[in-house]
Symmetry: none
Subunit: 411 residues, 2 copies
């Protein structure tokens, strides 16, 4: 029987005890029979996605969970966004996330999202930049993303991703100067280049016919770009080469598709998978079940738990957990012939509305598992499980060992 | 009172749940009051001999358990076999494991073990090779081992252990060409040398009078050697230098004696300790008790649990565990004045008949221990113990700390 692994990551699932609900975490306060079934029929534990006390960004956490040491492989977020929206990057490309934004004459940001511009306006403005923004010595490409978002790719020699963002991260602040983040001549040169792109794109966008029309319609003009998340693209050995597993990703959010593509997973596009609260969880689980016919490893990502944590809304987090659980129910009889690993990429406690380093629960169910006596999938109960406390980087080796796809070290 | 540590390693002891015995592991299904006594009077945990998800070979696992990082010290298996059979190796020696084998005229292997040749025939054939196989620039020595086995030592300059085996590992396949495993000129030169030794030894053995006699007696001739496990010998700091412990080994299998000698342990030879199913476990435990009069650290190894796992025979594994337990019984009152550590070098689940990375149980009993509430020595119960989950490399530092032979780090 070929190896089959389902790796389910509920983003930001872990939390801290909340007084309003009797000092339970949202997970502990949820009704979640499917998750509890996986815990009850599996070996449980807690996991530090990176290391104890390290608050993981989503991209490095996912790299670790996929078995790629983030301290070696993580070189900025831009590349994952680029791959996530399907940009055909080349080795050595410098990639950035960009926003179309509205600025005043003093380059102070009025609206970081230019009224959440999107659709044709956004596409045509990025097009315009591609046509008109030329800087000798490098090739510059813009790609539109969702709403006001896009991706900037710079191709050339002597570039560095050690440069700061121009995005001030809030309205009312001026566009920042890009600064080198190390002492290398490459970083200095790249920072100058970014500042020039920032300036030139403002010039080009300010004159755009589309923006004149938008102003006449009472909409904010998208007359500047904000640049962030510098990233350097170096291809890595794919999961199929490293693990002998044909792998795919079922996710809504582009970052997660991007990390999956980065490690060589195929991306299964699912109608209704949006990476937001309204995502169609059942459609995703159905896609996951279907993917098991042609893939050995199916990675399935749910974003909404993290969004609820970042909104500080524990009621919503509970509701989302219960909706995910409801969708997972149809997957449970696959525990007979698949390894099902259920975990999170980090905690996003509602109390702090951001990522924390609190370890996340993990349960691994399926054939040949040393099932322990933990009966519910919860942070504090899982801590008593047979896995004890592991790290994100341990997960893939453990899964590969269970399905006997690993090799003996030495003799 | 001088420090006294007994380190008991049951090879391949860990297992996975087996449906036929109610989803218990062989250890969980065994009656083993002595092991349970050590667990009940000790602190328990689970241990990844190398790291989570890493399937350990026996030699690297033992290096780790002895406190020698295998990623630094493990350079092939041959050296441990050589030291195990008592070869007087010199720094820089290249060592290999060899089999006497039967091949046809096309150098296809008919019997990898030449009918499990041994005794005088084997000794004299290796002798013949020592007399007749001469290659300018290097010294070549053969040493007979148990049955068809032997050791090849090559002494010379510019040699590398980065070469492949000539042993096809199964009958019906041709003797393999030795290939360099890195791009260095040393590896290329060594591979040529091994191929020449392979060829010349076939020529010499084919003409041997002993083989003519064997054929006339209807026995398979030992007319070739199969070479594997290239290894480079570099002496390391001994356990007595590193830990201030006079240490010895009680084992049957030559590999385990070899690893022990490699780290500077004396080897106590025990009559009846064979490293096989029929080994005299009680004689070994008696030898261990006696050795406590003159050694601070006694490492005792039982091989048969691993053999039963590799045979996929859980009934036999249970029987072996119970026989080992019976022998360990006489040792229990030493928990009063010794540290007794009971563990395994890896799991060998009966279901997969090979090593796995499933963590192994560990219990440490003796004076001054934080005894926990784990009452039985079993994989899943030990996971709830006071040691939590440790690595093989952690074990020696923990034991040294308990007997107060460690030094404060910093002030």
């Amino acid at each position: 029987m070929p190896a089959r692994i389902i790796l389910i990551v509920c983003d930001g699932l872990g939390d801290r005890p909340i007084g309003d609900i009797g000092f339970k975490t949202p997970l502990e306060a949820s009704r979640k029979p499917a998750m509890d079934f996986i815990a009850a029929n599996g070996v449980c534990g807690i996991m530090d996605p990176i290391a104890p006390g390290v608050r993981p960004g989503s991209a490095p956490a996912h790299l670790a969970i996929f078995g790629y040491n983030p301290y070696e492989y993580y070189k900025g977020r831009g590349i994952f966004e680029a791959l996530g929206v399907g940009v055909d990057v080349k080795p050595g490309d410098l990639t950035f996330r960009v926003n179309l934004a509205t600025v005043d004459d003093h380059l102070t940001v009025i609206d970081r999202r230019a009224g959440r511009i999107g659709g044709d306006d956004s596409r045509m403005l990025f097009h315009l930049l591609n046509d008109e923004l030329k800087i000798p010595g490098v090739d510059i490409y813009f790609y539109p993303g969702v709403e006001h978002r896009g991706v900037l790719v710079i191709r050339g020699v002597g570039l560095s991703w050690m440069v700061s963002d121009t995005d001030p991260e809030k309205d009312g602040e001026p566009i920042l100067k890009c600064r080198p983040l190390d002492k290398g001549v490459e970083a200095e040169r790249t920072a100058e280049l970014i500042n020039r792109i920032s300036f030139e794109s403002h010039k080009i966008l300010s004159k755009a016919e589309i923006n004149r029309r938008r102003v006449s319609e009472g909409k904010p003009p998208a007359n500047a770009i904000l640049i962030r998340g510098a990233s350097f693209y170096e291809p890595v050995a794919r999961v199929d080469e490293r693990y002998g597993l044909k792998a795919c990703c079922v996710a809504g959010g582009s970052l997660y598709k991007g990390v999956a593509r980065y490690v060589g997973m195929d991306v299964v596009e699912v109608k209704g998978a949006t990476g937001t609260y309204n995502s169609d969880f059942k459609a995703k689980v159905e896609a996951c079940m279907k993917a098991l016919d042609s893939y050995n490893l199916v990675y399935m990502h749910f974003k909404a738990t993290d969004l609820a944590g970042e909104d500080g809304d524990y009621r919503r987090k509970i509701e989302i957990i219960e909706r995910i659980d409801d969708a997972l129910y149809m997957l449970l009889d696959r525990v007979e012939d698949c390894i099902v690993a259920l975990t999170a990429d980090h905690s996003t406690p509602c109390s702090i509305r951001t990522h924390s380093a609190d370890p996340v629960p993990i349960a691994i169910a399926g054939p040949d598992i040393r099932v322990d006596d933990v009966g519910r999938f919860e942070e504090r109960l899982c801590a008593k499980g047979g896995l004890s406390r592991i790290r994100g980087l341990d997960l893939m080796p453990i899964l590969l060992d269970i399905v006997n796809l690993t090799h003996k070290y030495g003799a």
